[in-house]
Assembly symmetry: C2
Homo-oligomer: 207 residues x 2
């Protein structure tokens, strides 16, 4: 069944009943409210209308490249006043999950600065993985002796990472091969929504 | 069943019958003759012995980082005089496959110099993918407008690539999304043989 076939066109009666019967609304963001920087027609107006009607709104996204604060700023920029606590993003959720299991160790994070920010905000220690870690450009092999591996890694987090590299994948796989290392994957999108001919790879956790 | 259980210990009788009944012997290389630079005990002696007995030897490997010439040199260095044509490696095989289907287009190659060398030796055109193609180190997003995409790509080849990057995966996926683009994956090893604690990622084509 196509996405279009799954959609229901709301009549006035449908819309009224939806409003009357619910006090909380959850929205996905990318591909639902916008394909950034393009904002879908009526999206901001709808959010403002629902808020004026006293509804509670939450934004649930598996995008791991932004923090709650980043998202709130984005909403404010496009004309909807969002509070950070309305944003359920995977960087924040990862930190909340580790907190909920009383995690005390170090994390190797394949991910962007956002993931580091949310984890560090909750007091977790990062031991690498953020930013570039390439093989030297003229290399034809990885010299194992020169690899800088951390001794104590207790968790590997796989999030969207623009700077993914052979060395980073090697380190993540090596740490995960040790006993009792926790693995958290933030989402399983094979690719990101894109309007044109370009296929943007997703999060490397695709099934 | 473990690898050890699949092994058969040759008695003198077994060995004699194996020699008498066969005139051609095929060997894998990595993890079979060596975990380079460590050469397995007796490997070179066996190859020389078989050659002295008039047997034909071929070396079949899914390692795509070396050419026939590179492999022949490696064998010569360790004490076995191999000719390039004894080496059935995936870089060479990829070129032979394209030749066999009378391929005339351009190839985007996720791979190392060896793949370029073998393809160009057969006259095929490469349009990118060899060597580093990173996202700028301070980037937080891919700007689609600045992407340099080739117009005419007829084949995407996925081989072992130490310089794998987000941009290279994006380009390969985008080209493959176009109609009638051929996809060749050189092997499906999830990881490479390694003696110590390190897990070396393989060829990204793992099932």
């Amino acid at each position: 069944m196509s996405t279009k076939e799954l959609c229901i066109h709301l009549t006035e009666l449908h819309a009224k009943s939806l409003l009357n019967d619910n006090d909380t609304f959850l929205f996905d963001c990318d591909g639902v409210l916008w394909n950034f920087p393009h904002i879908f027609t009526g999206a901001v107006e709808l959010l403002n209308y629902l808020t004026e009607q006293g509804k509670r709104l939450f934004f649930v996204t598996n995008n791991s490249t932004t923090t709650q604060d980043d998202y709130a700023k984005r909403f404010n920029d496009i004309g909807y006043k969002a509070k950070p606590e309305q944003i359920i993003c995977t960087a924040w959720l990862t930190a909340q999950h580790l907190k909920s299991i009383n995690f005390k160790g170090k994390c190797y994070v394949l991910g962007m600065q956002s993931m580091k920010d949310e984890l560090e905000r909750e007091g977790f220690q990062i031991c690498g993985g953020i930013g570039p870690d390439p093989v030297p450009s003229d290399s034809n092999a990885v010299t194992v002796d020169t690899l800088e591996l951390e001794k104590d890694v207790d968790c590997v987090i796989s999030a969207f990472d623009l700077h993914i590299s052979y060395i980073k994948i090697l380190k993540a796989a090596t740490y995960l091969n040790r006993p009792n290392v926790l693995f958290i994957a933030t989402n399983d999108d094979a690719s990101h929504p894109q309007n044109d001919e370009i296929v943007k790879p997703g999060n490397y956790n695709a099934k």
